[in-house]
């Protein structure tokens, strides 16, 4: 109050307009509503120092007859005594209290007194009650209202009951409960209306509809009354209070004249009289009970007191009730969460479970629609953007949002693409289940406007087009719409937590399921290995039996019927016998190959040099026969491997080197590079610079570059069967399998006609 603007710069009822109404000092209007009289008294003499200009109308005395006179001019002796006694007894500081009913010139007044800034304010308003007769009625009204409020009502239902009772008690045409959101925007939550009165239920208003200074006053006094919007304000005389040298602060005055803007607003609504009761929760203006009447209406003090009491008691109940409602929602979330998880753990296809069963994701968190995305496939429920839009959104989420939980009630602010589907998703709550798989769950909330239940007909054309248009409720609704554009209902903490908990649960289930799946695959693999083993032996028996029959019979024929078969027939029978043996060889190779892939290797620390020498011993006859020079530049290292299998590897590679050589002076070199040792510029070798690389090199026929890969394919032959000593063509395939099962790689390099080198590694890590 100390830093109030000077009077000259004050916005008053004379110069206030829409552009400055939020600065209008409505607590010092300098005027009162003329249905009562306001007197300002100076203590302790109780001299009248200010008076409303309408005193004559009510008291039969002009201001000039009363100013600077003691209050005893209008009070009887006993009333004065009572007032003085009361002033000593009661606390009137910022606290208007009824003091007595006063009869002046045949009119009965309720007298209300409060003290502010060191002056006493006495307000007289017409009393229309005969007190004794009506008190029980009020008491019963209040009592019956409370008995009809049951504890399990929602806030909305609760407010509905309140409006009905207030309407019943006061007889207003329309009683609404108006609730403010966190940003001060209002919504008509409940309404009770008389016949033929238009409904405001569901209307929303921008915060600017009620300027902040008005809200401040709503916090100070619980009830305001405007008896007749067409009133002519009665100014105070003098304007400035002689004691304070300031306009009278009428914050607590029941007769305070209201802002012309507000009057205009009421007029535009077709309201002639209005009363509002504050609903205050934890020192914060929760909402209002607003009462409207289409004709002037005075509500006597006593009735107002009853309404105020209702407002106060309701206010006290709101917290608990809202907490209950929150609690119930949280409880619902918990319950749905638990049931979802239960379902998830039973179901193979959990995405289907999340969406298509009861309960599902939309029961967990209130939303317009839900989508579950996994690896580009999108499953949807309810109102959602289309697949392309969701896919784009998911890309944005996985690229630009680092948190696994993302929530926004104005998505387009962060993701402008969202404007395209604002109707469906102005709000987004998303959880990344598995980011790498673009596995997201998305809840979409529509733009608030889309959800608003409009009480009247929004398409009805405006009938008023003058300046007052702005202050129509519908116009006001339009304005509100602008303030909430692209915005959805906010996501509650409990909803975000629920999303987080769901994510954790799903991740656990996925992990568990993956572990189970892995275990199952292992079991299957084991089973299939057993079956394959069985198959191998069955095949060896069942395929070989007829083969053996063919073989034996052709030989028996050759032996027993030699005289009856000519040479050509004998040759063909011999070929038949040979083919059966080749077939047996192929079967054996195939079976062996399948076994090498499955049997357990017995890996131990082996001196590879010994392995190579043993192999050379086995092959010594052939080496000697073909006069092959074996070059061993240095002893091979000691290494961890399966001795028998490595022996096979060398056997195969050396046998091939012997076999595929048509040079006169044949040689084979068996050597290795230790890690970091080889200086070859060859990329393949460089890849394995950190491993041992073993090689078997020959000066044989070489391999054409195009065959370097295919030589490792089973039964792949590059030469006619009879050339280079034959063989089944499984040797290199088996070799490759053995190397791979050691964790290594085998490859060949060759210059056609000059020779080949087979390189292999064991337990290698590729440098990349």
């Amino acid at each position: 109050m100390d830093n109030e603007p000077s009077l000259e710069s004050l916005i008053t009822s004379d110069n206030v307009d829409l552009t400055n109404c939020d600065r209008e000092p409505i607590h010092i209007p300098g005027n009162i509503q003329p249905h009562g009289v306001l007197l300002v008294l100076k203590e302790p003499e109780l001299t009248i120092i200010q008076i409303s200009s309408n005193s004559y109308q009510h008291l039969g005395l002009h201001p000039t007859e009363l100013l600077n006179k003691p209050i005893s001019v209008i009070l009887k002796k006993n009333q004065l005594n009572y007032l003085q006694a009361s002033l000593k007894r009661e606390n009137y500081e910022n606290n208007p209290l009824y003091i007595f009913t006063l009869k002046v010139q045949g009119q009965v007044f309720d007298s209300l007194v409060h003290r502010i800034h060191g002056v006493l304010v006495l307000e007289l308003e017409p009393s229309k009650f005969v007190k004794a007769g009506n008190s029980p009625d009020l008491y019963n009204h209040v009592k019956s209202m409370f008995s009809s409020l049951s504890s399990n009502m929602t806030v909305r239902e609760f407010c509905q009951v309140v409006t009905e009772h207030v309407q019943n008690l006061t007889g207003f045409d329309r009683v609404v409960v108006y609730k403010f959101d966190d940003e001060g925007r209002g919504e008509v939550l409940a309404e009770s209306i008389g016949e033929g009165i238009s409904s405001f239920l569901g209307l929303h208003y921008p915060a600017s509809d009620i300027p902040k200074q008005a809200r401040a006053l709503y916090m100070l006094n619980w009830l305001r009354l405007i008896c007749n919007v067409d009133y002519t304000p009665a100014p105070l005389t003098p304007i400035l209070n002689p004691v304070t040298a300031k306009p009278l602060d009428m914050s607590y005055s029941v007769l305070r004249s209201v802002s012309p803007i507000h009057i205009e607003y009421l007029k535009n609504m077709g309201v002639k009289a209005s009363m509002s009761i504050s609903l205050i929760q934890n020192n914060h203006l929760w909402g209002l009970i607003a009462c409207h009447h289409e004709s002037p209406k005075f509500v006597p003090y006593e009735l107002r007191t009853a309404c105020e009491l209702m407002g106060q008691i309701i206010s006290l109940q709101l917290s608990t009730r809202e907490e209950n409602e929150d609690f119930e929602y949280r409880l619902q979330i918990k319950e749905v969460h638990a049931r979802l998880i239960e379902q998830l753990s039973m179901q193979e296809n959990y995405i289907d479970r999340l969406l298509n069963y009861n309960p599902n994701l939309s029961n967990l968190i209130n939303a317009g629609g839900v989508a579950v995305c996994l690896d580009g496939s999108i499953s949807k429920l309810g109102e959602t953007p289309d697949n392309a839009q969701i896919a784009k959104l998911v890309n944005w989420l996985s690229d630009s949002v680092t948190d696994d939980i993302f929530s926004s009630n104005c998505l387009s602010k962060e993701y402008s693409e969202a404007q395209k589907f604002k109707d469906i998703s102005s709000g987004l709550l998303s959880v990344a289940i598995v980011r790498s798989q673009k596995h997201f769950i998305l809840w979409f909330r529509p733009e608030i406007i889309q959800t608003v239940n409009w009480g009247g007909n929004p398409n009805k054309p405006m009938e008023i087009s003058d300046d007052g248009e702005r202050l129509l409720p519908r116009k006001s609704f339009e304005l509100w719409k602008e303030t909430v554009q692209l915005t959805s209902q906010p996501w509650l903490d409990c909803e975000i937590n629920a999303a987080r908990e769901l994510k954790d649960a799903i991740v656990n289930i996925i992990l568990l399921r993956q572990a189970n799946e892995l275990a199952r695959l292992n079991r299957d693999l084991e089973q299939s290995n057993i079956e394959l083993d069985a198959f191998s032996y069955i095949a060896s028996h069942d395929l070989k039996e007829p083969l053996r029959g063919m073989h034996n019979y052709s030989n028996i024929l050759l032996a027993d019927y030699a005289n009856q078969i000519d040479q050509d027939g004998k040759d063909k029978l011999k070929t038949l016998a040979r083919l059966t043996q080749r077939m047996e060889g192929l079967l054996d190779s195939l079976l062996y190959f399948s076994r090498v892939g499955r049997i357990d290797f017995s890996v131990s620390v082996i001196n590879l040099d010994e392995v190579v020498h043993q192999t050379l011993d086995i092959l010594s006859a052939r080496l000697e026969q073909d006069k092959v020079e074996v070059r061993l530049p240095r002893p091979l290292p000691i290494i961890k491997c399966d001795k028998v299998r490595l022996g096979e590897v060398y056997n195969n590679l050396i046998s091939n080197a012997i076999k595929y050589n048509n040079k006169l002076k044949k040689w084979i070199e068996i050597g290795y590079f230790a890690p970091g040792e080889q200086t070859n510029s060859n990329q393949k070798l460089a890849d394995y610079d950190n491993s041992y690389i073993f090689y078997v090199k020959d000066n044989g026929i070489g391999i054409r570059a195009k065959h370097l890969e295919s030589i490792f394919q089973i039964f792949k032959r590059l030469h006619a069967r009879d050339q280079f000593g034959g063989g089944t063509g499984a040797g290199l395939t088996i070799t490759k399998k053995i190397i791979e099962r050691h964790g290594g790689e085998i490859w060949a390099e060759s210059e056609f006609g000059e020779g080949s080198t087979f390189y292999f590694t064991l337990h290698s890590r590729k440098l990349k």
Partner: protein
Amino acid sequence: MYTDEVIPTHHSILLIEDSEEDYQTILWVFKKLAVSYPVYRVVDGEEALDFLNHNGKYSSQPRLPPPSIILLDLNLPGTDGRDILYSLKQDEKLKLIPVIVLTTTNSPKDVETCYRNGANSYILKPVNLERFLQMLKILLEYWFETTILLGDFVI
């Protein structure tokens, strides 16, 4: 085949073999090897047990002395060769007859099972008639000329 020192015997061979071709081949080989002992052939386990126990269709035939050796194929229809081996070796009388497994299956598991269950020898049928002949020649020489069988004492 017989020398004067050897007491004449009533040797015979029981062949448990379902494959007609293998049976014919074995007969052919026996002929080549001039085997003179009777060779009885049954095609499955049930028949083998009937033959040995003089049951079923064999009950009406004259009782024969038990075979000196049994050549057993493993993969048989119905009662498998492995089961026959087990049954034979559980029987107080029949367990006295050497059982030579003669089969195509070379699974280490089969080999082990057979020896565990009392097989006296395990021979793989090759896809090579000449080798097969050699194998059977060695087998017969071993069982009938090298070792002493219980049948040697039966007159």
